[in-house]
Symmetry: C2
Subunit: 237 residues, 2 copies
DNA sequence: TCTGCAGGTTGATCCAGATCATTCGTGGCA
DNA sequence: TGCCACGAATGATCTGGATCAACCTGCAGA
């Protein structure tokens, strides 16, 4: 799993599942221990919230396992899933005092928690951490802008195809193998709220993809992409 | 216009219209001159491109006057306007080698151009610049995520209302007065492509807002908000 | 083993907004 | 002054996906 040979790894982060891809991987061993020591690892059960829209944004998190969704809710109950986050990704950068959305575990998840202010200090003292953080946020920005394309222009089938490709790519990042198996720990409603569709439409379009042999359903939340070529062509973006 | 009294302003940036709100406002006078000297001010006529999707991302820009749109185009011609940018905003942060979208002036515009690599160096040496840049990108990210809410959940009328409030706020930032006048230098098609609607729908909904007295059309691209309260209630987000 | 129920799928109908078509208005130019 | 061209507004029609309504399926708990 490619651990960095220049570190002795004899501290709390030694066994981190996302050690080489997380933001903190840019820190040397002393700084890392230092940063880590301020906070702790948290475990969430599926469905448990990490923070709520409007809470003071005094924590940031590095997701080490599981899937977390960000969403916000309108007064009238309409709900938009803003993003799904996968292991190795960072959660909780906020340009304001408060979180502007709610974060909730989709499956059992573990995270590293940092106190935002101290993280900020580290960013000040470490060019590398600051640079890496900037790159991450910039990547999130591009992802969010790509979503504008999907939500603004793509038809239901295209949205779903794009979603499946995206989840495949991002969950695949870890276990290497190009298996075509896609874990879908989130419910159909979550997917629908992410794609700006009704859950019935997600169900129907998934059935359609199944009917054309592009995809096979292994179980409720496990799916196999059988024709990546065609799926990608559908995904457009 | 609130110039910072601790600077002598006796250099090229002295007359910058967005001096106090631009990223570079965090730099002291020497660093600023230094950063500025590498690049130059550019002028664009309405419709002129700043960069194209796929171009190497070796320039970043600070918009000092005018409006610029970012958009990307699908192979089949569908087009999504990703963002409109107003004076004081930054353009061209990219986490990859290439720009992922095209930038084009909507009205005549002037910008400061920085060489990305050198800007990066400055960010390394100036905590403040790095922090300010991070804050900007994080704000852009929140804006992009808010757009997901709008594009995923809002009805046509709500989208338009949200758009008008947003443009009002962001263009108002500069001339202070709470006049209710909104300049709309972009075409109806631009707005439609920004909101994921057909241009006919934008036209119709605008007429509807006019009919209910919420809004008044001064000219093709100048509009007055007559009932901000109701417009905001429509905008939802 | 049965029962309840939450999440998922499928079917029938409806409607917001797309699309196609026409008309209107304004500004540039001979 | 009249003509042209292009963007905007409006009208008529069509349709993708929402909504409403059963129904199915697999698991938890008695």
């Amino acid at each position: 799993m490619g651990r960095r040979p220049d570190l002795d790894w004899s501290h709390a982060c030694r066994d981190c599942a996302v050690g080489t891809s997380a933001v903190c991987s840019t820190l040397d061993v002393t700084a890392l221990a230092d940063l880590r020591n301020q906070g702790s690892s948290i475990q969430l059960a599926a469905g448990q919230p990490l923070f709520h829209q409007g809470d003071p944004a005094d924590r940031t998190f590095s997701l080490t396992s599981g899937v977390v969704k960000l969403y916000s809710v309108l007064p009238d109950g309409r709900r938009q899933v803003i993003a799904f986050h996968f292991p190795g990704e960072f959660i909780g950068f906020s340009p304001s005092e408060d979180y502007h959305c709610t974060a909730e575990a989709v499956s059992a998840a573990t995270l590293c928690r940092f106190e935002t202010g101290r993280f900020e200090q580290f960013a000040r003292s470490s060019d590398e951490l600051a640079r890496s953080r900037h790159e991450r946020v910039a990547r999130d920005l591009v992802a969010a802008q790509t979503r504008a394309m999907v939500l603004g222009q793509a038809a239901a089938r295209e949205r779903l195809a794009h979603f499946l490709c995206d989840v495949h790519r991002r969950s695949q990042a870890r276990p290497a193998g190009a298996s075509g198996i896609v874990p879908l720990p989130m419910s159909r409603s979550d997917i629908a709220e992410y794609l700006g569709l009704a859950k019935e439409t997600v169900s129907r379009e998934l059935s359609a993809l199944r009917a054309t042999g592009i995809v096979r359903t292994i179980s409720r939340n496990l799916l196999e992409i059988r024709d990546m070529e065609r799926l990608r062509r559908l995904a457009i973006v």
